[in-house]
């Protein structure tokens, strides 16, 4: 399988406001969120970025999704540069994160049509895809209800359907099961497995070990903005549980004794 995503020396820093400095009890004015990050993702695999909160997972995914620009480095998605050809990259990806919200005034039905139109999907293709995805997620039952009247699970299902409305080849999910009830979380993970079966490439971020173990072919462990380990799950674990191996890497990266 060829590499569909090549991340090359991505770096990103954020300036800390005085308020943030005070809140985090630090004097540093600039926070390096991602440091010189490089990895590749193969076509048709599920790649997981595993790390604690603040490790730089979301920042990395946002750079790949072209929502923010890297300070240095680049990422090539199916040959398109996230720095030089962001619109091309956006055409190829589906991005789902909790920070992307649905317009509360509109119904799932309208939102699906709108985002399909934005991606230039022909009406007949759109309708067939809508029928399929809405049936799969059980959206039909609330397709005509305004998003403001939907539960978190319903909204997440709608967002999920919309994020793949244009049948992207690469799907990027930031913490896909965060805040979901067990039923909806199961629907999401099953869907991700189905997508892989359909030959789609998935890049996800999470801090849930079991999710990585269940879904991912390969994993990158991200600590303090740097990639500590990257490889196939069996390779990374080396016969241990993922959780144990993660903490080995974590304490080694922090220069601390394992507790």
């Amino acid at each position: 399988m060829s590499d569909i995503l090549i991340v090359q020396n991505l770096s990103k820093s954020f300036r800390l406001s005085a308020k943030q400095q005070k809140l985090e009890n630090t004097n540093e004015k600039v926070r390096r969120a991602v440091r010189d990050l490089s990895f590749t993702v193969k076509e048709g695999e599920i790649f997981g970025l595993l790390g604690p909160n603040g490790a730089g997972k979301t920042t990395t995914l946002r750079m790949i999704a072209t929502l923010i620009k890297p300070d240095a480095g680049d990422a090539l998605l199916d040959g398109a540069s996230v720095v030089k050809e962001p619109e091309k990259v956006r055409q190829k990806i589906g991005f789902l994160t909790s920070e992307l919200k649905l317009e509360e005034f509109f119904t799932p039905d309208y939102l699906f049509d709108f985002f399909s139109e934005v991606h230039g999907i022909p009406k007949d293709v759109r309708n067939a895809r809508k029928k399929d995805l809405f049936a799969r997620f059980g959206i039909d039952a609330f397709a005509q209800v305004k998003a403001s009247g939907l539960s978190t699970g319903m909204k997440q299902k709608t967002s999920l359907a919309i994020s793949v409305a244009h049948d992207p080849s690469v799907i990027i999910f930031d913490e896909p099961t965060n805040g979901l009830d067990v039923i909806t979380a199961r629907t999401v993970t099953d869907f991700l497995l189905d997508l892989r079966r359909d030959g789609k490439t998935i890049v996800l971020s999470t801090h849930i070990f079991s999710l990585v173990e269940k879904l991912c072919d390969r994993v990158g462990i991200l600590i303090d903005g740097g990639l500590t380990a990257c490889g196939e799950l069996s390779e990374i674990c080396g016969g241990m549980s993922l959780e144990d191996r993660f903490f080995d890497y974590y304490y080694a990266a922090k220069g601390e004794e394992k507790r």
């Binding site: 923010i68 956006r90 055409q91 992307l100 317009e103 005034f105 934005v118």
Partner: protein
């Protein structure tokens, strides 16, 4: 181009299918103005006019027969039908001021002793003119009315008896005021409408643009839009175009209510001519309004893009609102005069001047063309800036 239309459609759907938005932005401002002006007009009308069948209660002291035996040239008949005189009540020790303050009388006229002789002597330059005292209460509408009636009557009597060698404006068959009622209406509209239109357009633009830009940022839906393959410029143009349509719709509806309420507000003080303007005038007005709305929407969108929330955006826009009102007020002082062409190069001021000219029925076509071009160019620069801002993560995700 298709991206612009997709965004436009979404924005227009958002506005025109949202009952709450339609009521608060499209109907309510105009309706409030209509109700407010009608109530104000009625209140002011009641304050300054007296019922047609009201009979003034006038106390007369001294040589009161004068009013009765006057010559037919003066409106004695009118005096007779509209007044009731109380010679007995006021004769003697009663304080005229107290009678007026307590509302027992509307007017108190005191003729000096031997008024007729003294008046005749003054006409013949034998003695100085006698003094007639007319007491009234300016706080009372009826008293004001009686005062106007009686003083006018006395002045006519005085003129008549002095038998001037000429009279002024006494032929009732002639019109002496050169201003046609059309001109008066045009002048009136040209002074008021620029302020109303620009202010109401701005209010409409403010309501929808802050919601569409800062609101989408605040709710996190802007990021959802920015992750699509649409060009930032398409998003910016689509939003600006849709917001302009809604701002113009809001401005026009509200202005319609204002125009409908003006006759009530003015309470017959001015005759409203409704067929002053041609189709061409309305087309020119449409051009100016649309180009002005584009400028407003663009500037408000730029300010909203900086804001983190709708509330913050509205706070940022408030000083601009003051500027718009102040510029709108300039039409009150120019009385429909046209200005030098280079003033049309100044956005906002050019719109006020163009609208003033149109409503004064003297549209400056070149000025209006310059205004439209300048406004559209300014909006183009603004949209370019907005696209750049949408590309800036500091602005969009701070």
């Amino acid at each position: 181009m298709s991206g612009i239309f997709v965004i436009m459609k979404k924005e227009l759907r958002r506005f025109f299918t949202d009952t709450r938005m339609l009521v608060t932005v499209l109907l309510l401002p105009g309706l409030l103005v209509y109700v407010m002006y009608s109530v104000m007009g009625d209140a002011m009308g009641n304050m300054f006019t007296v019922e047609d069948d009201y009979v003034y209660r006038v106390g007369v002291a001294g040589d009161s027969d004068l009013l009765v035996y006057m010559d037919v040239d003066v409106p004695v008949t009118y005096w007779d039908t509209r007044t009731e005189t109380y010679t007995d009540t006021v004769d003697g020790a009663s304080d005229p001021m107290l009678l007026l303050q307590e509302g027992l009388l509307d007017l108190y006229v005191v003729f000096p002793e031997n008024f007729s002789e003294a008046f005749a002597g003054s006409v013949n330059h034998v003695n100085p003119p006698p003094h007639v005292a007319v007491y009234f209460n300016s706080n009372e509408t009826a008293s004001q009315g009686a005062y106007s009636l009686v003083t006018a009557l006395l002045e006519q009597l005085e003129t008549h008896f002095r038998q001037k060698g000429f009279t002024v404006n006494t032929d009732p068959t002639l019109t002496y005021d050169a201003a046609a009622s059309e001109d008066t209406s045009a002048m009136f509209f040209s002074m008021l409408m620029p302020m109303f239109l620009t202010m109401l357009l701005f209010t409409g633009a403010q309501a929808v643009a802050t919601e569409s830009i800062a609101g989408e940022k605040e709710r996190g839906t802007m990021a959802t839009l920015l992750i699509t393959p649409l060009k930032r410029s398409s998003i910016a143009w689509g939003k600006i175009a849709a917001l302009t349509i809604t701002a113009v719709a809001s401005g026009v509806v509200t202005t319609g209510f204002v125009v409908a309420s003006l006759p009530k507000m003015m309470q017959g003080m001015i005759t409203m001519e409704t067929d002053l303007y041609s189709i061409g005038d309305y087309i020119l007005l449409g051009l100016v309004l649309i180009s002005t709305a584009v400028v407003y929407v663009t500037v408000i969108s730029l300010l909203s893009a900086f804001a983190k929330s709708v509330k913050e955006a509205q706070a940022l826009v408030t000083p601009l609102m003051m500027v718009v009102i102040l510029i709108g007020l300039t039409s009150m002082f120019t009385e429909g005069q046209t200005v030098e062409w280079f003033w049309y190069l100044v956005p906002l001021y050019n719109s006020v001047q163009s609208i003033t000219g149109i409503f004064a029925a003297e549209p400056d076509t070149l000025g209006i063309v310059i205004t439209t071009a300048v406004n559209l160019a300014a909006a183009g620069i603004g949209v370019f800036g907005l696209s750049r801002m949408m590309n800036s993560e500091k602005v969009m995700f701070h």
